[in-house]
């Protein structure tokens, strides 16, 4: 027999569709046993058919299930047991054993499929939870870092060794407001910006300390940062802090006409 031709005649489809006569069915079944390739093809056809009909399902009313299970319980189980007892000869015992084996195999493969499904679902939820957990841990780290930063800042602003110098806006920028925290003995300088407008990309703010009437560079900064920014050290003797606008990177000497804010050191 030419298997290819046999398959392409569509007879396996007709078999799966239940459209063959008793005689034809028997012939197909004999061939199925003989040619594994036919078996494989039929499996694919049946699988496709099952998928298709599952998609075209119409859900029955819940009452059908209730009625069905009730009638199985009432009518079917009793006579079935009796019947088996009556025909419990050797041959039928084997038949019964075979039937039981098939039933058990069916039930257990169904259960196995069921559990496999449940396991899959569980696995999915687990990986979701793990991902969620990682996100939460990340968030926690971010918050923790931020808290550390705030604590550090708070230590500086609360430390009496730091002198707070409020720099108010000049005529160039009346709304500007920034503060310098300066520790005269350790020369540390921190800056916090309350209100300064954003500059063009090529410009930066530069902080100056005026010592003995001469401006000393204390570092450059951009307007938008959170908390305190550490600036260059400033030696003892600074009387005034001031901010100018300079080209990005800063300059040696300040462009005084761009001065944005200034404030005098008030000795505590």
């Amino acid at each position: 027999m030419n298997v290819e031709e046999y398959i392409s005649s569509g007879i396996l489809e007709a078999y799966a569709l239940g459209e063959l006569s008793e005689h034809e069915r028997a012939a197909v079944e004999r061939n199925l046993l003989q040619y594994p390739q036919l078996r494989k093809e039929l499996d694919l056809i049946e699988e496709t058919q099952e998928h298709l009909l599952m998609k075209a399902a119409v859900q029955p009313n819940a009452s059908v299930k209730t009625k069905l299970f009730a009638s199985i319980d009432n009518q079917k189980s009793a006579p079935k047991v009796v019947e088996l007892k009556r025909t419990a000869t050797d041959a039928s015992a084997w038949k019964f054993a075979a039937a039981a084996a098939v039933t058990i195999a069916l039930v257990s493969s169904y259960l196995a499929f069921n559990y496999w499904n449940k396991w899959k679902t569980t696995e999915n939820s687990l990986s979701e939870l793990i991902a969620q957990n990682q996100r939460v841990a990340q968030d926690y780290n971010t918050v923790n870092d931020r808290l550390d930063q705030i604590e550090k800042d708070l230590n500086i602003t609360n430390n009496p060794a730091f002198n707070r110098v409020v720099m108010k806006g000049t005529a160039n920028a009346p709304d500007a407001l920034a503060s310098v925290y300066w520790n005269e003995s350790t020369q540390e300088v921190y800056l916090s910006v309350q209100q300064m407008k954003e500059l063009a990309q090529e410009n930066q703010y530069q902080l100056w300390a005026i010592i003995d009437g001469k401006p000393v560079d204390a570092g450059v900064f951009d307007a938008n940062f959170d908390g305190l920014l550490k600036m260059k050290a400033v030696q003892a003797g600074a009387a005034t802090f001031a901010v100018t606008v300079e080209p990005r990177g800063g300059k040696q000497t300040p462009t005084l006409e761009t001065m944005q804010a200034a404030g005098n050191v008030v000795k505590g």
Partner: protein, 157 residues
């Protein structure tokens, strides 16, 4: 097993028996039959679903040939109207068609025709050939091509 397969089987039955109540009655008979005959199912001859499908289809077709059904058919018109209003919960639970229509749209016209007429309208291949004046071989070829196309669309390997 009931929960898994009852929808698909009722789909098949209700495409042959249009009256919903009767279709559900047949579904119940089908499951009783399956329960009775599960010992005769032979995995060598095909999948469990195919076996159940054939029981369902034969049961429904037998019903259309029975006297009870042809008598019922005449009084159906009024009853169907009433039951359509009464039993709106039946139609609401229908999930037929959503994914299916999308799937069938991807088939060439000729192949969609045979699938639609067999699986959704309840025609056999022979009936299709007779009613639409096609050679039976053509119907069979189209059915085979359609099943192969669906197999690929559904990614069945």
């Amino acid at each position: 097993m009931y929960d898994h397969y009852s929808g698909a089987l009722l789909g098949v039955i209700s495409r042959i028996i249009k009256k919903e109540e009767l279709a559900e009655e047949i579904l119940q008979d089908v499951f009783l039959k399956i329960w009775d005959r599960i010992e005769t199912y032979d995995a060598e001859k095909g999948k469990l679903f195919t076996w159940m499908l054939n029981i369902a289809r034969n049961q429904a077709i037998d019903k259309t040939r029975s006297k009870e059904f042809s008598k019922g058919k005449k009084t159906d018109d009024i009853e169907t109207l009433v039951s359509k209003v009464d039993k709106s919960d039946f139609t609401e639970t229908k999930i037929e068609g959503i994914g299916l229509q999308e799937l069938l749209k991807r088939l060439p016209e000729e192949q969609r025709f045979v699938i639609d007429h067999h699986y959704l309208k309840g025609y056999t291949q022979v009936e299709m050939a007779e009613e639409f004046n096609l050679p039976l071989g053509t119907v069979k070829t189209r059915m085979r091509l359609a099943m192969i196309a669906l197999r690929n669309l559904l990614k069945i390997k």
